[in-house]
Symmetry: C2
Subunit: 437 residues, 2 copies
């Protein structure tokens, strides 16, 4: 089992998940096995989702619930946008009040409960309703909302939907919960892996939503992760904060950092391992599992970006430090011109160099090498800062695929990182020109 990896090694370990667009197959990791079940994959977690009337389209779910049979240690990271959704404030306060423990996640879509005069009261009331129905304390509830900003959110639909939501909690309810948090998403996003700690079978699984307004900063779009590993709140927060930096924070759909981004992890300890309380070998195994779940989720979010037809992964290696590698990789996948170039399948590779050149990082442009790769092959397009006279035909074959890898070597050190994005398409403009209706 892979342990004690340096952090920038994560990027190398997680290779080119083969497969196509929105149905990416996942890369195999030694000692980690993908399983179904999303947030219900780990022992002791149940979930549900339904339409409670926030979304007038009754076909679409708008309310999701995840519940642990036992108390969990919990950690979360939040958006760094100055404008924060009311649920962000309430969740933060709850985790402080409960000393980093939680039992449930309640989350609605269609309305972000943000920039409303009574947002905090509404979020508190939603937690109280949830706690009452589950027989737990309000501060054991993590609350989240996603959707339109600046529209009042009534608690009435929550009140009406709560009994049925709680009644329907089940160990196979993960899909319903994942469906409930979708907005402009076109696919449900769930990942889970099993692995061993001290010979005990452990599981970590999660669900995510997000398609637009995605340019995470210290957190991202909504992501809820559950695990049966026993780990202290402090170690859990440490693992989450570290992994988020090289996964969700390396994801950009449109450069817009949402107001409601949140990633939460709840660990109930039912795997039966001796609690992880320090950064030992067990911690490394857990952190790697968390990385696998979050990397896969990040790729799913990128591939399902609003209007996207292609998933773009930029790998920057040979950097003098992790920060440089991250800045370069994010700058390339975040460029509107690079995004359009892949949509148009036009190998206008000067744009890759241009985007790299305005990254906020230090490196020598005259040492930069760039390759393009996909299941269609691999080609070198830039060597030592000079665009090569590559075969347009070969390049066209590579960028005609749905998963594209832009591989940069700065020839300046050992650090590496990945960033994920997608192409910019007519549909992105269409979706966002008419979001509310």
């Amino acid at each position: 089992m892979a342990v004690s990896v340096r952090f920038s090694d994560f990027a190398r370990l997680a290779g080119a998940g083969a497969g196509k667009g929105k149905n990416m197959t996942k890369k195999e990791y030694d000692g980690y096995t993908y399983v179904d079940g999303g947030v219900c994959a780990a022992k002791g977690f149940v979930a549900n989702g339904l339409n409670c009337g926030i979304n007038p389209d009754r076909e679409k779910y708008d309310l999701g619930l995840v519940y642990s049979e036992t108390v969990c240690n919990a950690a979360a990271v939040y958006t760094q946008n100055k404008v924060k959704g009311a649920p962000i404030f309430v969740t933060k306060e709850h985790l402080e009040k409960s000393a980093g423990t939680a039992r449930a996640v309640i989350v609605n879509s269609k309305n972000a409960n943000t920039c409303n005069p009574n947002g905090i009261e509404v979020a508190e009331e939603v937690c109280a309703l949830t706690a009452g129905a589950l027989g737990i304390l309000p501060e054991e509830v993590i609350v989240a909302s996603t959707g339109v900003i600046g529209e009042r959110l009534s608690t009435e639909p929550f009140r009406q939907g709560m009994p049925e939501l709680v009644r329907g909690l089940s160990a196979d309810g993960n899909g319903r919960a994942a469906y409930a948090i979708m907005t402009t998403d076109t696919i449900q996003k769930e990942v889970a892996v099993t692995f061993e700690i001290q010979g005990k079978s452990c599981t970590i699984g999660g669900m995510a939503k997000g398609s637009g307004m995605i340019h995470p900063n210290m957190a991202t779009t909504l992501n809820f992760i559950t695990s049966d590993v026993s780990i202290s709140t402090e170690m859990l927060q440490a693992a989450l904060s570290e992994v988020v930096k090289v996964t969700y924070n390396c994801l950009t759909i449109d450069g817009d950092t949402s107001t409601n981004d949140m990633v939460s992890v709840m660990c109930n300890g039912l795997a039966g391992n001796v609690q992880i309380r320090e950064q030992n070998r067990d911690f490394d195994v857990f952190r790697q599992a968390l990385y696998i779940v979050m990397e896969n989720m990040a790729k799913m979010l990128a591939g399902d970006g609003e209007g996207a037809t292609k998933m773009l992964e930029c790998r920057c290696g040979g950097a003098k430090n992790l920060e440089t590698a991250v800045a370069v990789a994010k700058s390339v996948v975040g460029s509107a011109l690079v995004k359009c170039m892949f949509f148009g399948e036009d190998a206008n590779c000067g744009r890759l160099l241009c985007a790299l050149g305005y990254a906020d990082a230090e490196f020598d442009i005259e040492k930069v090498n760039i390759d393009l790769a996909s299941s269609g092959g691999r080609i070198s397009v830039c060597k030592n800062g000079v665009i090569l006279d590559f075969s347009e035909e070969e390049a066209a074959k590579i960028i005609g695929e749905q998963e594209i890898y832009i591989i940069i070597d700065l020839q300046d050190g050992d650090a590496s990182a990945k960033a994920w994005g997608c192409d910019l398409t007519y549909d992105y403009v269409k979706i966002n020109g008419d979001y509310r209706s």
Copy 2:
């Protein structure tokens, strides 16, 4: 005549130029009069443009020349992208070698002469050809290129076109030069104003190109400005560096900082004023003229952004300092979601707050007021950080116009700034999915 204005006052002085989209009328300024003539408006400047064969479409010009009958003091600002076009290096060296003087600008479109192995040699050769034909020194030539990055540029078309280019230099050649620098631009961009210094009639005029890859950092897309004012190189550079901060650097089309951005100003002194050598009243008058030319050009660039149907101006007032005002205004006009919202004419105003919230600046979100304005009216959409229950009908009328003003009050001080952008449309994607063909 307006003088001794504090710098952040510029934003206030330059009000809402009325008029529509690409045919904006210009705001009147006390003591400054708009005139025709672009780079030839000032005394002693001639210009020309033609097709020399870099662009296979012979209808399109690809080579422009501006020439001053007498030696000019010159100043320039350049892109901060790490990847710089070869002409940037050569122009910089020439201005150093000539101690801040120049006689001519030679500029080609269709090929950026960037990331080529022999780019510097090509740019030097182009200057030598120009100098030879004009009978001046190579270091008196400012050289610039714009177009595709990473394609070799031959000097042969320059050699063939130079005699005719020089022969055709004339005082009404400004339009031909402005046409020669267009790439995806749909309109020529020229502005000139006359004003008085020491009772002498002075003129400053310029031309600009730029439509995509526009997110200037310390400089912008290609802009060439000429004036007959007598001013020292040092004072000229001071004025340019100051004005660029609140004009071109507040402009974003797509977040991509070009590799070839450059603004140059050449002043030949033929107006006959006593040379400006310090930051006195005359300096203020000149700087204000430069501001007027550059602000108008910035708005023209924004309104003619690739695929744009609307010009967006964000004015941020009540900021505690200029940096805060600039950061907030740029963040709003740069947001992909805000840009799509205006294209779709959907007053989804939470997106304005969201974009403001991730600006890299310090302010209190609970004090933020936002109005939307245009020739269709003015409406308040956010008060003290809370989205108001505004009339959708009124809002639709306002954002249905072609010039939209987003007016932000941070209620935190006296500084203000403007930033300019445009909507994000299907055509932006179309243009940039297939740029090279």
